[in-house]
């Protein structure tokens, strides 16, 4: 099964990038003339491919979507070893449960929808995560610090700031081990790992599409790269309160520690694989390039789906940066990071299933009050509703598809029937608090549970293997996230939404 999936993914990648090699010039020439027309051309493409799908599809067609999200949420808790060995099959089963009847009934339109979501969303999504994963996995922070409240707070703060630029997963991978090493002598350190999850693995990823997968999905759908800076005030308030609470808490526990066990009084820290910061700048440049030249370089037709040339160039830049990282980074650096391909394979397999099964949910939501989820579109009215609805679901389901779901429900609510290329530019200007609420809800509330965001589990797992008794699923919620995060989210609601 794994082999079949690998072949499928490889074929998709070849189909995706091959046209660029042969038609980039042609597309560019065509594109310069028709750049503006492309945005207007998109509705024709959509109209030609069953734009009524959203009002026709019944709600139960979204069951495989619910199924795969619940599988991701529950299997690691109830059957971790089964899930570890069989998640690609489970993902494929949910994907086929939707794809087979969908193709049988809607044939050409169904094929177009499937190709569209894989070419426009899935492949660029995986390329970005893969390149960030490869590059951040080539940076190793060496050395051990003192593990005092000030040092811990500084490490968490640096991670929070980095997360928006190397992704929450990258920042977590980079700094969790130095943080654990610095606190190895301490008895009270669980709270430090929990606040690391709150800030570095989640809230820190707020500011750019590189920070957290939901925001990158927004970027792929036309939200500008720097638009997410509009959530900076919300982020600063959340980070400010959390850092103050953490510092007070850690100072309290630090006083109770037996300092005779402290291994390093004045440790130093050094960075290996620093060249990867340059490659990271290349990734940022590539993503910015595609944002600036989004419609100016025309598009390429891949199996009937239009993909902007700028996006293809961006993906090519990202792939080159990642290969450069693999080539230029010493193997010892990756070994020190315990780098392996497994995490990115997980993302590739599971999101292949998520993107397939999300098709009916997105179509229904885009249809707004004409679709089977009209009640949801009507019920979620204010930015506060969006913040809590997106957040509540992001706490228990993966936040990337949750973001996309509510992003589309806003398009359906405000611009039902309008093509996305026209609706999104209106949404980001006219409905700022709404999109800010969805973005903040998806990113911030991923910290509410271990299953809210992918790096949470990774950090928990690394901490446990380093001898830190991390709380259980409910222990994390009842001891930490509910008493600490929920009051902060209430404050944010009162202040901003």
């Amino acid at each position: 099964m794994k082999r079949v999936l690998v072949i499928f993914l490889a074929l998709m990648a070849v189909m995706y990038l091959a046209p660029m090699a042969v038609s980039i010039g042609l597309a560019a020439n065509h594109g310069i003339a028709s750049a503006d027309a492309h945005a207007a051309g998109a509705p024709e493409e959509a109209a030609a491919h069953g734009s009524n799908l959203g009002s026709e599809l019944p709600l139960w067609t979204a069951l495989p979507f619910a199924g795969i999200l619940l599988s991701i949420a529950l299997f690691p808790l109830v059957a971790p070893h089964f899930w570890h060995h069989h998640f690609p099959k489970v993902s494929a089963a949910w994907a086929l449960a939707f794809a087979v009847p969908f193709l049988f009934v809607y044939r050409g339109d169904a094929m177009y929808e499937i190709l569209h979501i894989y070419i426009v969303d899935y492949i660029p999504f995986i390329i970005l995560l893969w390149s960030l994963f490869v590059i951040s996995g080539g940076i190793y922070v060496k050395g051990t610090l003192k593990g005092s409240p000030a040092v811990n707070a500084l490490i968490i703060l640096i991670g929070t700031a980095l997360a928006s630029w190397i992704g929450t997963t990258g920042a977590s991978m980079l700094l969790i081990r130095p943080l654990i090493r610095s606190n190895a002598w301490r008895k009270h350190k669980v709270h430090t790992i929990v606040f690391f999850i709150f800030l570095v693995s989640n809230i820190g990823g707020t500011l750019t599409p590189l920070g957290d997968p939901p925001l990158f999905l927004g970027f792929l759908h036309g939200v500008p790269f720097f638009w997410t800076f509009k959530i900076l005030p919300e982020m600063l308030v959340a980070v400010g309160i959390l850092m103050a609470v953490y510092f007070a808490m850690d100072s309290f526990f630090y006083k109770k520690e037996d300092k005779s066990g402290m291994t390093t009084e004045n440790g130093t820290i050094s960075i290996e694989g620093g060249i990867n910061f340059l490659l990271l700048a290349g990734v940022i440049g590539g993503v910015l390039f595609s944002g600036i030249y989004q419609t100016k370089l025309g598009h390429v037709n891949i199996l009937g789906v239009h993909q902007n040339t700028a996006n293809l160039i961006k993906d090519a830049i990202l792939v080159v940066m990642a290969f450069l990282s693999l080539w230029m980074t010493k193997k010892a650096v990756r070994a020190a990071n315990e780098f392996s391909w497994f995490p990115i394979k997980e993302v590739a397999y599971l999101f292949a299933g998520i993107f397939m099964t999300i098709i009916p949910a997105l179509a229904i939501l885009k249809a707004g009050e004409q679709g089977a989820l009209a009640w949801l579109v009507k019920a979620v009215e204010t930015p506060a509703h969006y913040f809590w609805a997106t957040g509540a679901l992001s706490s228990f389901l993966d936040n990337a598809p949750t973001y996309l779901t509510f992003f589309n429900s806003q398009l359906g609510k405000f611009y039902a029937g309008m093509p996305e290329a026209v609706a999104v530019p209106k949404l980001i200007v006219d409905q700022i608090p709404y999109l800010a609420a969805v973005s903040a809800g998806a990113v911030f509330m991923g910290a509410n549970t271990y299953i809210g965001n992918a790096p949470n589990f990774m950090v928990k797992s690394i901490a446990e293997e380093s001898g830190i008794p991390m709380p259980s699923f409910f222990g994390y919620m009842f001891k930490y996230s509910i008493p600490i995060l929920i009051p902060i989210f209430i404050i944010l609601t009162l202040l901003f939404f």
């Binding site: 690691p76 971790p80 392996s340 993302v347 992918a454 589990f457 990774m458 797992s461 293997e465 380093s466």
Partner: protein, 193 residues
């Protein structure tokens, strides 16, 4: 030779009792061991005693585990003393000789190094203590090696439960050793009379 211990229930202010015992030991010129049950993790109060304290809104019942020789000397000394507000013979509500002590523990670790640490702790028990109902489960899943994002499974896991039983002073000392290990949870010490 193993020392004989007793559980003594005192009534009176904590500082008076503690001060009296410390002073008594210092005055005797000998070394005696004693533990306040609350501090040493020994199950002390019965439910009826707890209720009695709640109802009377007092906090004057203190369970002390002490060497029986020390108890005898204290009893003799209090019998000779005149009644006072601080401590007198009526302050000792009861005293029972302890036959043995035991406590439950459980552990759970995902690092081989920490698993080995726990094994070492349990392999070399201090004299007189024994390990009962020990049920360790050690699993190795080579395919689960490394970091995961969505399908977290540990390459190594070692978990178990058990009961440590033996002389009360050894049990108290070893319970503290286990309690200081971050991956081991210990329950209160039950006394057998």
């Amino acid at each position: 030779m193993t020392k004989q211990y007793s559980e003594v229930v005192f009534e009176g202010p904590y500082s008076n009792i503690r001060g009296f015992i410390d002073g008594f030991i210092a005055g005797s010129g000998k070394e005696f061991a004693y533990f306040f049950s609350d501090n040493a993790g020994v199950k002390a109060e019965t439910m009826s005693e707890v209720l009695k304290e709640w109802i009377s809104l007092s906090n004057k019942i203190h369970h002390v585990v002490m060497e029986s020789d020390l108890l005898d000397k204290i009893k003799k000394s209090l019998e000779k003393s005149v009644d006072s507000d601080s401590l007198n013979k009526a302050s000792i509500k009861s005293a029972k000789a302890i036959k043995s002590a035991s406590f439950r523990f459980k552990f759970n670790t995902y690092g081989r190094k920490y698993g080995d640490d726990i094994k070492k702790l349990l392999e070399k028990l201090p004299g007189g203590l024994s390990l009962k109902e020990y049920a360790p489960v050690e699993k190795v899943d080579k395919d689960a090696r490394g970091v995961e994002l969505y399908s977290p499974a540990h390459e190594y896991s070692f978990e178990g439960t058990g009961v440590i039983a033996g002389p009360v002073d050894e049990a108290i000392a070893f319970r503290k050793v286990l309690d200081d290990h971050p991956l081991v949870d210990v329950a209160v010490i039950n006394l057998e009379f």
